[in-house]
Amino acid sequence: MNALQQLFLTKKQNLLSLFFTAGYPQVDSTTQIIEAAETAGIDFLEVGMPYSDPLADGPVIQQSSTRAIANGMTLELLFRQLERIKNRVKIPLLLMGYLNPVLQYGMVRFVQHAHACGASGVILPDLPLDEYDQEYRKLFEEYDLSPVFLITPQTSEERIRWIDQLSNAFIYVVSSAATTGKQQDFGQSQQSYFQRLQAMKLKNPLIGGFGIHNRQTLQQAWQNLNGAICGSAFLKKLDIAPAPGKAIEMLMNDLEIQKKQKV
């Protein structure tokens, strides 16, 4: 059982996760952000593997990826950075990115290195479900890595059930049919979507993402799902804050979370 699965055994609600792009704003920011997130009591992290053509992402994550690549971030370097801190931090980590860089690195080698540097899971939004099932499922299981898949309000029930069956950590609930960072406040459509998911009684926890940026969006995700992931809003803070710890503090203010309440 990986660290992420252990977390879900003990904590079942009000989970908070952050997404950030490795190598942004500076190439060495990766480890600083992870350590700051652990100190701040964030439950788990998605470490973005930057890609030149991030189709599902809005301008904020795109720009962070472009900057990170220009900073010299690569998968090789990311694994070295994670290796360096793996004994110092306990916060569960997921690697999130697009399939092409992973294929060039080699899927077997990628999974081995992800496992070796302590990652709990992988999110590759453009990896087709059938391809995962037929070609990589055994490999992921062998290295105790959890695959995480996205669902949207348009995903059919049949597909959600398939994803639930393939998953062993959580399901990433995309709040609306939109690229990252595009959403305003959540409304009735998100509410009914979240309730529809609840009613399905899935085996995996549901974590909401895309558009979590203030109290309203966070609370609505927390009330209906098991937790929330904040990405673009966090990257915006990283861009203006002097240090990652400060960026998390600023984000917590926007989300109106007291540090104490979180732990």
């Binding site: 890609y51 030149s52 053509d53 991030p54 189709l55 599902a56 992402d57 809005g58 301008p59 795109q62 720009q63 472009t66 690549i69 690569t74 998968l75 090789e76 697009y98 399939l99 092409n100 860089p101 992973v102 294929l103 060039q104 690195y105 080699g106 899927m107 077997v108 080698r109 939004p125 453009d126 990896l127 087709p128 059938d130 391809e131 037929q134 070609e135 898949f149 996205l150 669902i151 949207t152 348009q154 995903t155 597909r159 995309v174 049919a177 939109a178 690229t179 595009k182």
Partner: protein, 415 residues
Amino acid sequence: MTSNQKLFSEKHTTSSSEKVIKHNIPNERGFYGNFGGAYIPEMLYPNVDELRSNYRQILESDTFRQDFGLLLRDYVGRPTPLFYARNLSKKAGAKIYLKREDLCHTGAHKLNNVVGQALMAQHLGKRRIIAETGAGQHGVATATVCALLRIPCTVFMGSKDMARQKPNVMRMQMLGAKVIAVESGSQSLKDATNEAIRHWINHPADTYYLIGSTIGPHPYPDLVARLQSVISKEIKVQLLREEGTENPTHVIACAGGGSNAAGAFFHFIGNGKTRLIGTEAAGEGVDTKLTAATINSGKAGIIHGCKTLLMQTADGQVVEAHSVSAGLDYPGIGPLHAHLHQTGLAEFIPVTDTEALEAAMMLSREEGIIPALETAHALAALEKMAFKPTDVIVISLSGRGDKDLQTYQQYFTKP
């Protein structure tokens, strides 16, 4: 072979072992051998799936076939002539025919695809059309058909390309399309494509994404190839009349994303009689960084939702292509062509900027036809190949050269 490459080829054996019934048509999952598929985030899944589950049925329906046929005839101007190029034949020492796609409305083969997909959008009940464009040819074609069919149209174009291709921006605007400047990434075709896809993610219900080439997630490569296949269908009929055989010994076409080559090759693929030759834009040379010769310098990977050959760094970041011809300036190539290359069913030869420019002048002087720069890449193959007097060669003259006059002028008046 490195372990990476080995893994990659091993990984592919699953899909390649699946039955490929015909080499010009992908399997159920959208694979031509090892290439194709639909590598898309879940946000795109419903849009792409809707098209995938309906396109074959729509293409085969009587109303679609009738509407498409009439528009091809009366609006696009088909069939386009198959012209016996006497002077060029003498020069090459073989019979050379030119398939005159440059005589289509808007000046290139592009319109065949656009007419078909715009009708497809109507059949699917979509109310808006979006498209990406590089040099603006596909954007102009889309704006044209959308004006005709009264469909609101938005075209995404890199801001760099907008500055380079002002006349096409003006054409699109005159035709009533909204042109959106793309500022992300390299501000060219690849980023215009990303932005169009993002827009589609954000407007899934009412919008149809009209892709301009045989690229993108399944079913687009197949859909576009089928719509362009009218080119080789006509060649067969016309050649039978002229030469008493349906099958030329050679078909030559340029390939960027590959829609013109797909159309010109389609009915000859795997016939055992016709050598299919694609020409790629080598830019300054295949071994330089300034190239767009994807097949000759790219590696297998994923771009814009399909598995194919693409130009990328060792880390798998997509790199920018370079060619003097904006229409071939794309770092990937359609999965059909990657497959034809891998199986040897077609060969792809690189043609440099200079070779293409010289070939454009050659055709202008020999036959009185100024070709598009893209097309000039196909003509340049004549210089690189040896022919027998009995050979019958069809070259797809994919577009006319009006749009490239400035480039020609700069090159040929250079001191």
